[in-house]
Amino acid sequence: MSAIEIENLFIKYRGQSDYALQGVNLRVKNGEFVGIIGPTGAGKSSFCTTLNGLIPNLIKPEEFKGDVTIFGLNTKEHTVAELSQHVGIVFQDFESQLFCTTVLLETSFGPGNLGLPREEILKRVDESLKWTRLTGFEKRYTYSLSGGEKQRLAIAATLSMHPTIIVLDEATADLDPVGKLEIYQIAKQFKEQQTATMVIVDHHLDRLAEIADRIVVLNNGQIIYDGKPREVFSHVDELIEMGLRPPQVTELFFRLGIKDEYPLDVNEAINRFPQNYKVTSPPKAISENFETRAIEIRNLSHTYDGEFWALKGINVTIGKGEFVGVIGPNGSGKTTFAQCINGIVRPTKGSIKLFGEEATIKSVSELGKIVGYVFQNPDYQIFSNTVREEFTVGPRSLGLPSEEVNQRLAEMLKTLGIENLANEDPFFLSKANRERVAVGAVLTLKPEIVILDEPTTGLSPGEVKKMMELAKSLNEQGKTIVAITHDMWVVAQYCKRVLVLHNGELQLDGPTQNVFSQIDLLKKFYVEPPQVCRFSQAKFGETFLTIEELMKHVTLGG
């Protein structure tokens, strides 16, 4: 019997003209590991939520045609509670999935609802916490856990129901690289020990490539490709067109026209890469010279509670017009560092000068005119009923005349390419567009320095690209950009200089090329440069940051 059987599934939501899913057919064998990929709005989440019957039992779409059968149970005829003993789902937002006060209660919630005997529940709790490496956390309060721990707890709480199918719906999207890795390690364990059938939705195709038996590509509610990872990822151009990012080494082979099976990971690429390619010219390390000092930080230290130092004696000077990436694992002090610059955090020690003026004595709203700070969650910075209003609040509070306010509004709508959304309510926009609105709201103050705090989290690669292109164009206009991010390919492609923070200390600072060439050292800080960097280092002893750069400097030689 198939674990999952989907036949001719159509879903249409109220008020939508398009179908979220149209004519999906899929059979998943027991024990299979399936990766689901696709751009935002492709229907991935709708697909996942049909598996345990949340659609159509809890969420009732206007139209639900076709059948979803889980181990012979048609989801239309069984309740979510029944189906949840077969299918466990973990969602993206780890906050909203945890609703009990302690780890023990959270993990025992499901089995408790099933009315299992006390001993059985405790046994399952122990087991699930062991799987997710949370043993010893039983009495901890859920709110006091880190993001990665919370997501692992969400998995544990699902595992305790003993599901035979586990669905991770972008469950790693909001996590830092360490958190992501931990989740993948757990998934790998499930696979090795054949614990369950796995369905994982993710944008990290290189990780999926390593672990999945099968990749299904959804676009516009339809299955476009379905096959082994190598087969599916060979459609490089089509995937990129959709806004996805196939593994870089796969793309490299494709671009070079190497007629061989495309590799899926770096080692494979190194072994298979033809010997007759040579480096014709070494990559140029760009070290920028700047004339004006935009940010000057001296001996910056900060502690929130007087005991733990989030920042320890940071010294750094950033020039006007630089594009700087700040990287490091969660808890390394990246956000504290950035928030010191715009005054949200008042540093305990040290000085920060912005264009020569001491910033630590100015108020946040005063600094807001010089430093724009875009938060990770766009919803935090948006509050007006229309995009138009959102963009005029800031300039008006500066006391600017209305012509100037309107001019800035028009300019900003044009820069962001959202003129058509001016009268829309931001609440109903997509996350990528809300992110744009938040950026716009900050930029209307015309700050010289723009800080982007994880602007790419939770966006699809295509959306990330658009966002970063926007930052790039601002940079070209002379703005100084400081971007905190976990996406190393974003750093490689856009940032000219990188700061690596770890344990509150500035560990590395230099041109991206130099920093990313120290692969072994970076490992200590949980930073893994993009595939193309690792590949070119191993193969040529040079560090190329992007595929384009590599192709410019490497040619077929005799």
Partner: protein, 264 residues
Amino acid sequence: MVQYTMYIEKDTFVHRLDPRTKLLWLVCVFIWSMTFNHPLWTLMILFVVLVFGFASKTLGRFKYFWYGLLSLFLMCSLMWPFFKRGYTVLMYFGPLPLYYESVWYGLAVGIRLIAMVLAGIITFATTRVEDLLAALCKLRFPYSMAFGVSTIFRFIPTMMGDGMLIIAAQEARGVNLRGGSIWEKAKNSVPIMAPLLVTTLRRTGELAMAVEARAFRAKTERTDLYVPRLEAKDVAVMIMAIALTLIFLYLRLQGYGAILPKEM
């Protein structure tokens, strides 16, 4: 980590009492406080509450409540005399008479409120949310309702965290949140409350799905891990609380402990 929960972890006699005992005690304190309106008598109730508080070793941790309690007390004691008519005129404020009994009455109400609020704080500071939930279930409250209550407690810290970030995020985009007048303050709350509401709303959707996905209300009888058990000390405290309630009610019916009205 900032402490957002009211619960204070200590190992005291009060902490070890069954949540149901503490709930009964809380109800009794409310009844006692409402029974009397003579300040000396309500002071006695407050004293009982304070003894409980000292025994739980939590009073010191609630310093930030003292200010609120004091202003509550002052407000009551100063306002009530002007609304409650007494018999013996003390003095005149222009045409307004101030009665001796009304002043006493005001003091009594002030003390009464402090006793009640303090008893509530002590109960929550010594009882974990999950124990309270278990107690409510044991008292035959519908599970969905009890679950809802505990979920609120779970999300208070999350919302506080959101709130702090939102304030920072809004200030960073030049929204001035430090206005002067009350009107300005009300206007300033929009940039904080609107995003907080939106963030919470977005979360609620996924929360409902997550709860359902974990077999919520699958069976009529669910298994609770925490099953509160009444012990000898619980019974003793309960009997004492009920006995005191009966005694107090009897005394009041006999005409003790009331400043107003004069004749029963």
